[in-house]
C-alpha cells in the first residue's frame, strides 16, 4: 500500500516535470535562438548557443523600429486601460450601490458583451474610424480597445463591489459624503488590490492584441509591437534569431509583471469564470 503511494508520487512528479518542460521549452527556444548568429541557428536549430552573441538584441534595441513599436504599444495599453478602468469603476459602483432601475439590465447586457467576438465589430469600426479621420492613428486603437475592455471590467468591479457591505456606503452617505467622495475615499482604497488585478489583466490583453492593430494601423512608425512583430516575421523569414530577439521584447515585460504579481494574475484571469 505504502509502496503504491510512493510509485504514484514519483509518477506524478515525472509527469509534471514533462509537462513543465513542454510549457517552458518554446520560451527557452526563443531565448537561446536570440543569442545565436543566423548561421549557427541554421546549422543546429536546437543546440545550446556555443558562442552566444548579443548582436541580435542590440540590433533590435538600437537599429530597428522595435523600441518605437514597444513605445506605441505602451501608449495604447496605458491609454486604453486607463479609460476603461475609470469608466468601469464608475459604472460598477453605480450598478452595485446605485439602487436604481435598469442597472440589472445593464449588467446582463454587459455579461453578454464580454464574449462577443471582436472580429464581428471590426468592419463597422474600421469604416467609422475612416470617417472620423482617425484611422492609422493610435487613438483609433485606444478607443476601440477601451470599449472592448469595458464589459469585462464592469463585470469584474461589480463582483468585487458586491463583497463590500452596503452599510459602509450608507454610513458615508449619512455622514454627508457625496458619491464621488465615497467612491474616492471609501470604496477605492478598499479596492486597491482588485483594481490592480484588473489593470494587469487588461494591460496584458491590450499589449497582446493583434487583429485590430493590424487593421487600424498601417504606417510602419505607428505599429504596435504585435503588429510590428508580424511584419518583422514576414520580412526576415530567414533570420530567425533576429525575429526571436524581437519576440523576446514582447515577452519580457509580460513575464516580469507575471513574476512580480503572480497572484494578481491568477485571480484576475480566472475572474470571468464562475462567481
Amino acid at each position: 500500500m505504502r509502496r503504491q503511494v510512493k510509485i504514484g508520487g514519483v509518477l506524478r512528479q515525472a509527469l509534471m516535470l514533462v509537462i513543465c518542460a513542454i510549457s517552458l521549452y518554446p520560451i527557452w527556444f526563443a531565448i537561446q535562438t536570440a543569442l545565436k548568429t543566423s548561421r549557427a541557428y541554421t546549422l543546429n536549430p536546437t543546440g545550446f548557443p556555443a558562442h552566444p552573441t548579443l548582436q541580435n538584441i542590440t540590433n533590435v534595441l538600437f537599429h530597428l523600429p522595435v523600441p518605437r513599436w514597444a513605445l506605441n504599444s505602451a501608449l495604447v495599453t496605458l491609454g486604453s486601460v486607463g479609460i476603461s478602468t475609470i469608466f468601469a469603476l464608475l459604472a460598477g459602483y453605480a450598478i452595485v450601490f446605485g439602487g436604481v432601475r435598469g442597472m440589472g439590465f445593464l449588467l446582463r447586457v454587459n455579461i453578454g458583451l464580454m464574449v462577443v467576438p471582436p472580429v464581428t465589430l471590426l468592419v463597422p469600426m474600421f469604416v467609422l474610424m475612416v470617417n472620423l479621420g482617425l484611422i492609422n492613428t493610435l487613438p483609433s486603437v485606444i478607443i476601440f480597445y477601451s470599449g472592448l475592455m469595458v464589459p469585462f471590467s464592469v463585470f469584474f468591479f461589480v463582483n468585487f463591489f458586491r463583497q463590500i457591505p452596503g452599510e459602509l456606503i450608507e454610513a458615508a452617505t449619512v455622514d454627508g459624503s457625496g458619491q464621488l467622495t465615497t467612491l474616492r475615499r471609501v470604496v477605492l482604497p478598499m479596492s486597491f488590490a482588485a483594481t490592480f488585478t484588473l489593470v494587469i489583466v487588461n494591460a496584458i490583453w491590450a499589449w497582446t492584441e493583434l487583429l485590430i492593430a493590424l487593421v487600424f494601423l498601417q504606417n510602419e512608425g505607428r505599429l504596435t509591437l504585435m503588429a510590428g512583430l508580424t511584419q518583422f516575421q514576414g520580412r526576415y523569414t530567414i533570420d530567425q534569431p533576429l525575429v526571436l530577439a524581437a519576440v523576446l521584447m514582447a515577452i519580457v515585460p509580460v513575464v516580469l509583471i507575471y513574476l512580480a504579481g503572480q497572484r494578481f494574475f491568477i485571480r484576475g484571469l480566472t475572474a470571468g469564470i464562475g462567481k
Binding site: A171, A172, V174, D175, S177, G178, R185
Partner: protein, 386 residues
C-alpha cells in the same frame, strides 16, 4: 429644536406587501425613543426612512421644523450607528471618526479638536492609530459611536447597535450609552428587538408589529397599561400569560379555571368574551400569599431555576389567548389545545415537576382584552386597571 415627526408614513415593497402601514410618531427634542418589535416588524425600515436611506411610499418625515422627506441622508444632519458598525476597514480609528467632519469641510483644527474630544469621551484615546481589524468588538462599537457623536447632529439614529456584542459586554455598553446620554442630550431613535434594552434605555418606546405601530409610550406605561395583547405579551419577561376567557356573574372562566372578580373589575368586563392576561409575577406561591386572594391549583410541568427566583411552567385546559407575541414558533401553542402559562415564584418554594402547586391570583392585576379586537378593555372614563 430637533423633534422628529413621522406623519402617515407608509412603505410598500415591490411585491405589494406593506413594510410600514400609516405610522404616526412624534419624538420630542432630546428624547431617547426606542423602536422595538419582533424581526420583520418594520422598525429598521422606519429608522432608514428617518435617515433618508429609504424613501417612504407616502407620508412625511420632519426633523425640527423642516420637511426632510425629499432630502438625501447627507442633508438631514443626522448620524447613524449601524448594527455591524460599518467602520471603514482601511482607515484608522481617528480617520474613521474624522471622516464625517472632513466631508463636511470643517476647519482642520476644529476637526482635530472634536475628534480627540469624542475619543476621550469614549475611552478611545489610546487606540486612535489602530485599524478596525485590531480592535475588540466593544472597541469597534465605541468607534461607531464616536463617529456619530463627533458630528454633533440633530439626531442620532441607532440600528441595533449592541446586538453584535456578547451578553456581558452588551450590559456594560448599555450602561455606557445611558451615561453618554446625560452628557449629550441629543434626540435619539434607537432600534432593537430586545425589550429589556428598550425598557432600560428609552424615554419612550414605540412597539411595532407587521408594520403597524401598536403603542408609543413610556416604559412604565407600556408595562402597566399595554394597549393590546401583543404589547402586553411582548413587553415583560417572562411573557404575560394570556388565555381565552368568558366573564359571567362576576366570575371569569377559562376552561377548568374559575376566578371570582372584585366588583369594580367585574363591572368592566361582565358578560364578555375576553382574553385574560396575568403576568407571571402576579401568580403567587399560595403558601406565602395573602389568604384573601383567589386560588388555583395547577400541575407543574417544568421548573426554570433562575437563582433569586424560579419560573414554574404549567398548562391549563383552556385556549391560549390570541394575538400575543409568541417568539419564533407562531403556532406551537395551538397544537396541544392547552394554554401554557408561567408563574414566577420564590427560589425557596421547592416545587418540582409533577407537583400540584397552589397559586394565588393577584386579581387586582388581571388584564382584560377584547377577544375580537385584542385591545385592552378600559372602563369608560377610566384608564385600565385603575
Amino acid at each position: 429644536m430637533s423633534e422628529i415627526s413621522i406623519v402617515g408614513v407608509r412603505k410598500q415593497f415591490s411585491n405589494g406587501s406593506n413594510a410600514l402601514d400609516d405610522v404616526n410618531l412624534r419624538i420630542e427634542d432630546g428624547q431617547f425613543a426606542v423602536l422595538v418589535g419582533p424581526s420583520g416588524c418594520g422598525k429598521t425600515t422606519l429608522l432608514r426612512i428617518i435617515a433618508g436611506l429609504e424613501k417612504p411610499t407616502s407620508g412625511v418625515v420632519k426633523i425640527g421644523d423642516q420637511d426632510v422627506t425629499q432630502l438625501s441622508p447627507g442633508d438631514r444632519d443626522v448620524a447613524m450607528v449601524f448594527q455591524n458598525y460599518a467602520l471603514y476597514p482601511h482607515m484608522t480609528v481617528a480617520e474613521n471618526i474624522r471622516f464625517g467632519l472632513e466631508v463636511r469641510k470643517l476647519p482642520r483644527d476644529e476637526i482635530t479638536r472634536r475628534t480627540l474630544e469624542a475619543a476621550k469621551m469614549l475611552g478611545l484615546s489610546d487606540y486612535l492609530d489602530r485599524k478596525p481589524k485590531q480592535l475588540s468588538g466593544g472597541q469597534r462599537q465605541r468607534v461607531a459611536m464616536g463617529r456619530a457623536i463627533v458630528r454633533r447632529p440633530l439626531a442620532f439614529l441607532m440600528d441595533e447597535p449592541l446586538s453584535n456584542l456578547d451578553a456581558q459586554l452588551r450590559v456594560s455598553m448599555r450602561a455606557e450609552l445611558a451615561r453618554l446620554r446625560t452628557q449629550m442630550p441629543t434626540t435619539t431613535v434607537y432600534v432593537t428587538h430586545d425589550q429589556v434594552e428598550a425598557m432600560t434605555l428609552g424615554d419612550q418606546v414605540a412597539v411595532l408589529r407587521d408594520g403597524v405601530l401598536q403603542q408609543n409610550a413610556s416604559p412604565e406605561e407600556l408595562f402597566e397599561r399595554p394597549a393590546n395583547v401583543f404589547v402586553a405579551t411582548f413587553i415583560g419577561s417572562p411573557s404575560m400569560n394570556v388565555v381565552q376567557a368568558t366573564v359571567r356573574g362576576g366570575q371569569v372562566r377559562a376552561g377548568e379555571l374559575s376566578i371570582q372578580l372584585p366588583p369594580v373589575i367585574a363591572a368592566r368586563v361582565e358578560g364578555r368574551e375576553v382574553i385574560m392576561g396575568i403576568r407571571p409575577g402576579d401568580l403567587l406561591d399560595a403558601r406565602q400569599a395573602d389568604p384573601a386572594l383567589p386560588r388555583i391549583e395547577v400541575t407543574c410541568d417544568v421548573v426554570e431555576y433562575l437563582g433569586t427566583e424560579a419560573n414554574v411552567l404549567f398548562s391549563l385546559d383552556a385556549r391560549q389567548g390570541e394575538g400575543g407575541f409568541s417568539g419564533e414558533d407562531e403556532d406551537s401553542e395551538h397544537s396541544t389545545g392547552r394554554a401554557r402559562l408561567t408563574a414566577r415564584v420564590g427560589r425557596a418554594s421547592g416545587i418540582r415537576p409533577g407537583d400540584r402547586v397552589p397559586l394565588a391570583v393577584d386579581v387586582e392585576r388581571l388584564y382584560f382584552f377584547d377577544a375580537q379586537t385584542h385591545l385592552t378593555i378600559r372602563s369608560p372614563g377610566r384608564p385600565a386597571l385603575v
